[in-house]
Symmetry: C2
Subunit: 175 residues, 2 copies
């Protein structure tokens, strides 16, 4: 695998940390059959629904990731340690998996997950493995009009409510 | 008002605390015209969407609260200090505002909010004032089949994504 040690965490006890890094960027990784992709996200929520720990990810219907996450009821979220991986986050937020292999281009590596067939990104930081329990597409008529300019091309988000089936930190050995 | 001091907080920096108390119960308060109600919730998520801090609340379509929150694009969430208000949370979780005035029965008091016309509950703890940006009703065909038994009567939740326009702690003076 890699040089990192797996340290399990309680997802609800790292919510602050998750929301501190998220605006700096996280990797949302999806896989369907042999097609693997990761994209940079800056939005999401974490909490408890159906008495389960959940991460809610948002993906626009125009994304390559959308095609994959719609076909497979899984995703993973990898949050780099605060302030790290800036270049990789920048690249994966401005290029599409339709056009390039982001792993080859950035040097990021996929790492086998513990509970999902979708891998995580092999970097130090927090990782959530999620099984999708609900897909909630935005219904434009139920969206506040103040947000209309976020969707000039009707490229609405769908929210994916994922049961966090594994949550852990990857740490450099000896950290 | 009350004996409590208002101490503003950064919502994303109290996510851990929110998720620690939420399973013990929080008050979801809604108001439409002169109709005011509060109910106990144990589920919800917190995070960042549309570059805004949001709290996502879930309300079943059979609830009295549902009728009010559908009519007014606001809600507040009041999280008692950890482990407190157990009796009041129990009462507001097992009685309907259709049948009883929960404020009169429990002694809970409403307190004027800072940014919403919907009040908060006048208790020490964390308070979020929210303006609804999106309503997302569960589409049964987009729900994982493992959750079917949560909805035996088709009493599905709608998720309310609320922009947290004010976040603060109410503290006893001299705390």
């Amino acid at each position: 695998m890699s040089e990192y040690a797996v340290v399990e965490v309680e997802a609800m006890a790292v919510a602050d940390e998750t929301m501190k890094q998220l605006p700096k960027g996280a990797f949302l990784t999806v896989k369907h059959k042999k097609r693997l992709n990761t994209m940079t996200i800056g939005w999401g929520t974490i909490g408890i629904v159906w008495a389960k720990p959940v991460f809610v990810a948002a993906v626009r219907n125009t994304r390559y990731t959308y095609d994959l996450i719609q076909r497979e009821a899984e995703f993973t979220v990898s949050l780099p340690n605060f302030g790290t991986c800036r270049q990789e986050l920048g690249f994966c937020g401005t290029n599409s998996g339709k056009d390039v292999d982001k792993f080859a281009k950035t040097g990021l590596k996929a790492r086998d997950a513990l509970k999902t067939t979708t891998p995580v990104i092999d970097i130090p930081g927090l990782h959530f493995e999620c099984k999708t329990l609900l897909r909630a597409p935005i219904a434009p008529e139920l969206l506040d009009s103040s947000l209309a300019d976020v969707y000039p091309d009707a490229d609405y988000h769908t929210f994916y409510f994922g049961d966090i089936v594994a949550a852990y930190r990857l740490e450099s050995q000896g950290e």
